[in-house]
């Protein structure tokens, strides 16, 4: 472990950009001639009375700084990349064993189906929480075939699941580019520019109507917001699993959206009863009474229904558009 109090401030700022966040959050300002000092010297030079007004002291600051640096540098690299997850069955609501051991690999698309209250959300929560027989279902989740490192449960940098929810609101008032850039920067990655333009490109391929980098996110249509979020999550989110709660039909190419997520090596879990999406997946998990009761591999035979379903879907979309445009329905 490094002695962060003794190293020069300039070096630390260079190596760890988050040192600025520490300074910001304690409202500390550095003068240029202080950069060659160490943080110990800098803290010692502060006015103890002024710190006391903020409830701080020199010792407390030093302690907080060391804690901060240790915690920020401890994480990341020690946790291994995810290749697969395995769900080891537990029991259903009646205490009957599930008898499954299911391994899902990067790039697979899985649909989760079952009536309301059957336990779909609980299964997803078990995966997100990396359940270790400590949830009501007694399921166990393995990563790369092994019991996961305890740290992974709480690491926000290794959050298992990113969620694309039904309502897609933006509360920030930024342009598309600023918005995506802020996300990229929060991840402290290096090629931010590249990622930002890739995301805007991909989003425009998914959205029916095009938008610009300087469009404010708050003025995107429902379909455009969805497209932007899917592209952003595919390319920038660190979470290996993407959970989709029904992709609505509204103005987005669902097939391309899934292809993008698969290309980015995500595991896609969809809670959906839409037959088109179900057939685009690799497998369906049928949930009943709180347990996985069946695993259906989508067969080529079943997939043959896809063109028919897509034609139906297009028909419905065109009828909807006629209504929207104030026309009279005519075949």
């Amino acid at each position: 472990m490094k002695d962060f109090l003794s190293l020069s401030i300039a070096n630390l700022l260079n190596e760890y950009i988050f040192v600025y966040d520490f300074l910001d959050s304690y409202d500390l300002k550095l003068k240029d001639d202080e950069l060659s000092k160490s943080f110990r010297e800098f803290f010692d030079s502060l006015d103890e009375d002024k710190l006391e007004e903020k409830g701080l002291s020199i010792d407390l600051l030093k302690e907080q700084f060391v804690n901060f640096m240790n915690a920020m540098t401890a994480d990341a690299d020690t946790i291994e990349e995810l290749e697969s997850i395995t769900i080891v069955g537990g029991v259903n609501k009646y205490g009957e064993p599930e008898n499954v051991e299911l391994t899902i690999r990067k790039g697979e698309v899985i649909c989760i189906v079952g009536p309301t209250g059957s336990g779909k959300s609980r299964l997803l929560a078990d995966i997100e929480w990396l359940a270790q027989k400590d949830t009501p279902t007694r399921r166990q989740i393995l990563i790369n075939g092994k019991v996961p490192d305890k740290k992974r449960r709480f690491s926000i940098d290794h959050k298992m699941v990113a969620q694309l929810s039904q309502n897609m609101n933006f509360v920030m008032d930024l342009t598309v580019e600023e918005f995506v850039r802020m996300h990229a920067e929060s991840r402290l990655i290096e090629n931010a520019d590249e990622k930002v333009s890739a995301i805007i490109d991909e989003a425009n391929k998914l959205a029916g109507e095009q938008f610009q980098a300087n469009t404010p996110v708050t003025s995107l249509s429902g379909g455009q917001s969805r497209a932007l979020m899917i592209a952003d999550t595919a390319i920038l989110s660190r979470s290996p699993i993407i959970l989709i709660d029904e992709i609505e039909n509204a103005g987005i190419d669902r097939k391309k959206a899934l292809e993008l997520l698969v290309k980015e090596e995500k595991i896609v879990l969809m809670a959906t009863h839409d037959p088109i999406l179900a057939l685009m997946g690799d497998r369906r998990l049928v949930i009943k009474n709180g347990g996985i009761s069946k695993i259906i591999e989508v067969s080529e035979e079943e997939r043959q229904h896809l063109p028919y379903l897509q034609a139906l879907d297009e028909k419905l979309v065109s009828l909807r558009n006629q209504i929207r445009n104030g026309e009279i329905l005519n075949e």
Partner: protein, 227 residues
């Protein structure tokens, strides 16, 4: 009895989260109670009552609610023990970002919501910086990107905390939070325990920098709750 302090900006979802966590405990036949601290008015006590949860409310009036909190928390713990609770939770709305109700040796939770804006974590101060667990709510109404940015902003303010996402309406994440809270040690009294962070100048002994809890240390303008 286990004791946990939960604080957070007004309307961040504290009560919603507490209710969901208690539901989870009830399934394990654990008895839970709540003390709610606020400034002028709160309806939270009625919410807890309708769910059959024993509750006490303390209104600080003109005092900083956190100062009022520390003058009364010891009696609250005695009350909880007398009722035979397994878990007592204190809910306080951190109205002044300068104070924090967190006590050394008592699990401290800060609840903040995704809607409050990405710069809020930096502004919140000790209530967030000194928390063991940070619960982020209202993830359902923002995008995945905003959730990730917000969580990373929380992390740079308090990298040692366990950061959890809980939905106060559906309860998603509440079972997991309850599991983490269950690791809290039992206590019999708060006497002699210390605040994690001293409170600013005002009128009572705690305003003057006192951090020890107990009647012997309270002087000046101290307001007491009715039990």
């Amino acid at each position: 009895m286990k004791f946990i302090t939960i604080s957070g900006p007004p309307s961040s979802g504290k009560t919603s989260v507490i209710l969901k966590v208690i539901e989870s405990y009830k399934l394990q036949n654990q008895r839970c109670g709540v003390v709610k601290f606020d400034c002028l008015l709160t309806e939270d006590d009625k919410l807890y009552e309708t769910k059959g949860i024993p509750v006490k409310k303390g209104l600080s009036g003109g005092l900083c609610p956190d100062h009022y909190f520390v003058s009364n928390v010891e009696a609250c713990v005695e009350w909880g023990i007398e009722l035979g609770l397994d878990l007592l939770i204190s809910e306080s709305a951190g109205l002044c970002n300068r104070c924090s109700p967190h006590i050394r040796g008592v699990t401290a939770v800060c609840v903040i919501d995704n809607l409050s804006g990405v710069n809020t974590p930096k502004k919140i101060g000790p209530m967030l910086k000194f928390a063991d667990i940070v619960v982020i709510t209202k993830g359902d109404i923002v995008s995945q990107a905003e959730r990730e940015v917000f969580a990373s902003r929380v992390k740079v303010v308090n990298p040692r905390a366990v950061i959890m996402h809980v939905n106060g309406i559906t309860g998603q994440g509440a079972f997991e939070l309850a599991t983490v809270l269950n690791d809290t040690e039992d206590i019999d009294t708060l006497k002699g325990k210390q605040l994690r962070f001293s409170m600013p100048a005002a009128l009572c002994s705690y305003c003057l920098g006192e951090t020890r809890i107990g009647d012997a240390y309270q002087m000046g303008n101290v307001k007491k709750m009715d039990f």
